[in-house]
């Protein structure tokens, strides 16, 4: 089967061409050419992935590449799934990027460097799942990190915050690399080979303790890349500050690769493990799901909100993966397969709607220069298509029928609910809790996206920029429409993915569940009896809607709608400033979760000089800090700064001190030798 290598080679060639074009071409040609080439890269990756999903495999070795190790590649269905997702997202976002960067000037995303890096980033997104040896994987992984870092920094001239975000991202991602390197190097050392095949073969010879250590290290690394709590700190910084197409790529494609690595390592290479691994994973997942969506509920920056919602969805996926591992650990493999399929399906769905949402947010940002929901409002009038597409994405994100997020969450819940068939007290305690966490996060997600849509796009403009907004150019709309179509397809006929999912689950040694099948019309659980046919639900809803709209019209006498003033309690027409903002919308939730969020607010009242009772000015400050950062990161940073200051004394400048080091070292070593080595 030569389709996969051909497609991958094409993608690589196109990426190289794109990089050159980005370096060479002048601004006018640069953006469209690079955009088209990048889309080609995505298409190549998508093709290869689809081929792998349809059952073909490919593997090869290039000993000449990568000094000291040699490069090994292999493609199976699991890799194919993630390649296909990444490729599809890349295609849409690349087209979107043409329109986005076109109006943006020769700096930022349109600059030489950014345009040169973009195709390479796309390529690594597609290629990372292909790696089949530790060195190859880490090399591609780091190239991806570097490319994304450079793209995050693209708009460094506009805002200082970009630099901070870039530094955070660089350091966090390198922390991830160190963990990953330690874990994989340990694993490779224990199995005596660094290709995935060797690891797979030698995994069972490794002592349980070392396996556990490896899993913990690798899990932390991949979780941080996936943006799971508590290693998520880079995500709400980098995603908002990056140019919107880049945010879309990172949030919809790059983050998934963390999940890929986890599944690949945990199930495939380590061959599953004891229950405590997966309980830990579920704990991480649950924490990220609830914490992420709570922070999203508090956020009033649209892109920050979306970033935190990514953290939430990744949490849900992690719960699924953890549950799958748990079931496998207790020997119930069909159920494990179901849970894993649900998790993977949610990865796909999340990629679809999150890419759409980030693109829509980017369109708003481009039209108004606004990311702050409190100052938007009324955008549905000037940019109806964007608003509609955002609504479609939001419907997917709130996991309610007929959105696409619902199908995967339904599968996830089903797998958890039927998980009680698995023995073990841990299961009995953990599963209900995770169901509750999923439900809670789903409920808050509904509030979050009602806020995003209702406050951001509905009501009336709350700022001049919002009032002056224009609809995005056609190219961007087309790309978003493409993504929207993807969401709709996933929502109505998820079964089209069925066989691919089964093969992907098979690839890690679990029997295919066949859960999502029936030509896409039904989602039926074979071993446990529950069915869902999204298409029917959607059809029924539309019919009912038509009736509910139509019948009253038939009954009522007057058809013509007349306009009227809003009810103003008798005092002047309500101004936009009276409308609810994102902050005020989130206030009740924030009160409810006061203990978790620990908001900070201070009121200082300055009375007039004459009397303390007459107030001259009242300043009210209110912010909801990221508490985990507060507690986890800041102490570390402080201690490091202290260490740096302390270390400076070592280089005080006195020659005598410096020679003293040498003399002391010499005497100590001689003493050691004298008393006998």
């Amino acid at each position: 089967m030569s389709l996969i290598p051909a497609a991958l080679a094409t993608a690589t060639a196109l990426a190289g061409a794109g990089a050159l074009a980005g370096c060479a071409l002048p601004y006018r040609q640069r953006v469209p050419v690079v955009g088209v080439l990048t889309a080609g890269v995505g298409a190549g990756g998508c093709t290869a992935g689809a081929a792998a999903l349809s059952g073909s495999r490919w593997s090869a070795a290039f000993p000449g590449l990568l000094p000291l190790a040699g490069a090994h590649v292999a493609v199976d269905a699991l890799a194919g799934l993630f390649m296909a997702v990444a490729g599809a997202v890349v295609v849409a976002v690349a087209v979107y990027g043409i329109g986005y960067a076109a109006g943006h000037g020769a700096h930022g995303l349109g600059s030489h460097s950014a345009q040169a890096v973009l195709p390479l980033f796309a390529l690594t997104l597609v290629l990372v799942p292909v790696a089949a040896s530790v060195s190859t994987f880490l090399a591609l992984w780091e190239v991806m990190a570097l490319a994304s870092l450079l793209l995050v920094l693209a708009e460094h001239r506009e805002r200082v915050s970009v630099r901070q975000a870039g530094i955070w991202y660089a350091v966090m991602t390198h922390l991830g690399l160190v963990l990953l390197l330690a874990g994989f190097a340990l694993f490779a050392a224990q199995t005596g080979g660094e290709t995935f095949a060797a690891l797979r073969a030698g995994a069972h010879t490794v002592s349980p303790a070392v396996r556990g250590l490896v899993f913990v290290l690798v899990m932390l690394a991949f979780a941080s890349k996936a943006g799971a709590v508590p290693l998520h700190a880079w995500l709400p910084r980098a995603h908002p500050e990056a140019p919107s197409p880049v945010s879309a790529l990172m949030s919809a494609a790059m983050v998934n690769l963390g999940i890929y690595g986890l599944v690949r390592t945990g199930f495939d290479l380590l061959g599953g493990g004891p229950a405590w691994w997966w309980l830990g994973l579920i704990a991480v997942g649950g924490a990220s799901a609830v914490y992420g969506i709570l922070q999203a509920a508090m956020a009033s920056d649209l892109k920050r909100l979306l970033a935190y919602s990514t953290s939430e969805n990744i949490g849900l996926v992690l719960i699924g993966v953890g549950a799958s591992g748990l079931f496998a650990a207790y020997g119930n493999r069909p159920l494990a397969a179901l849970a894993l399929a649900a998790a993977l399906l949610h990865v796909v769905n999340h990629a679809a709607f999150k890419a759409l949402l980030f693109c829509a947010a980017g369109a708003v940002l481009r039209a108004t220069g606004l990311r702050d929901l409190d100052r938007m409002g009324g955008l549905r009038a000037p940019m109806p298509v964007t608003a509609g597409l955002f609504a479609l994405g939001a419907l997917g994100a709130v996991a309610l029928p007929p959105g696409n997020g619902f199908v995967s969450e339904w599968l996830l819940l089903q797998s958890l609910i039927h998980g009680l068939a698995v023995p073990g007290v841990a299961v009995a305690v953990v599963l209900p809790l995770s169901v509750a966490l999923i439900a809670l996060s789903a409920g808050i997600a509904a509030a979050v996206f009602v806020k995003a849509l209702g406050v951001g796009f509905f009501a009336r403009p709350r700022s001049t920029q919002a009032a002056a907004a224009k609809e995005a150019p056609r190219l961007m709309l087309a790309a978003m429409a493409l993504l929207g179509a993807g969401c709709a397809a996933l929502a109505l006929v998820p079964g089209l993915l069925g066989d691919g999912l089964d093969r992907a689950v098979d690839a890690v040694g679990l029997p295919g569940s066949g859960a999502v099948s029936d030509g896409g019309l039904k989602v039926r659980l074979t071993d446990v009896s529950a069915t869902l046919s999204p298409l029917w639900v959607a059809a029924a809803l539309t019919t009912a809607l038509a009736l509910a709209v139509g019948l009253p019209r038939l009954y009522g006498r007057r058809r013509r709608r007349v306009n009227a003033r809003l009810w103003d309690c008798g005092g002047g027409a309500p101004t936009p400033r009276m409308a609810y903002t994102a902050t005020s919308f989130a206030e009740p939730l924030q009160r409810v979760f006061d203990d978790v969020l620990a908001p900070e607010q201070d009121v200082d009242v300055t009375p007039v000089r004459e009397s303390a009772y007459l107030v001259e000015r009242v300043r009210f400050q209110h912010r909801v800090p990221d508490r985990i950062e507060h507690r986890l990161y800041e102490p570390v940073l402080r201690s490091l700064a202290g260490a740096g200051q302390a270390a400076r004394r070592l280089a005080g400048g006195s020659v005598h001190l410096y020679l003293g080091y040498g003399f002391a070292g010499l005497v100590v070593l001689l003493l050691i030798l004298a008393v006998g080595w």
Binding site: R648, V655, H656, L659, L666, A674
Partner: protein
Amino acid sequence: MNGGLYTQLLDLACGLFLLAAVLVLWVRELAVIVRIFALQGIALAALAVLLGAHEQRWDLIGVGIGIGLLRAGVLPYLMRRALAAITADRQRYGTAVAESRETQPLVNVAASLLTAALLTLLAYAVARPLTELNPTPATRALPVGLAVVLIGFFVLVTRRRALAQVVGFLLLDNGITATAFLATSGVPLIVELGVSFDVLLAVLVLQILTTRMREAFGTTDIDDLRELHD
């Protein structure tokens, strides 16, 4: 010459050699220090000549004489010139005294002497295996060489005048040369030449730097060189 006399002379030379090193720690006047260093150079040369005479190796004697010329003649001369250059234009300011004396070393003289004693003990302890490997009168004196190396390093660490540091460096080098002679009656000629040439150049460089230092800082107190730091 017979073994007994050879041994006694050898020990005498080594004793002088070590004594000179200790004296450098003792005195404060730079001029005197330089003179003592010259004395040590003579002792070193004597050492080499003795070994040569004992082994009937004329090349060794030649090397010894050359070393004597270098260490007792050229290097002290260079340092005296440097000293003169430093103190010359200082007379009228009356800071000549300050410049020509190691007024207050970082470790005072008494402590330095005690340290020297300890270092000598350490040298004996460390040199044990060397002596055991091939016990001859020469190798029995190896600790002296090591002791001088350590003392030289100690001078380098604790003395504040530029010239005193140079002397310390040269003590270190003398010690190494002595070790070389005592252990293996000298390294191959080419290496020996290279080493001596390097030492000469190093001293020249240091001398030039000393004069520059005086131009730049107005003093040769190394402790004032603290502008480069983190």
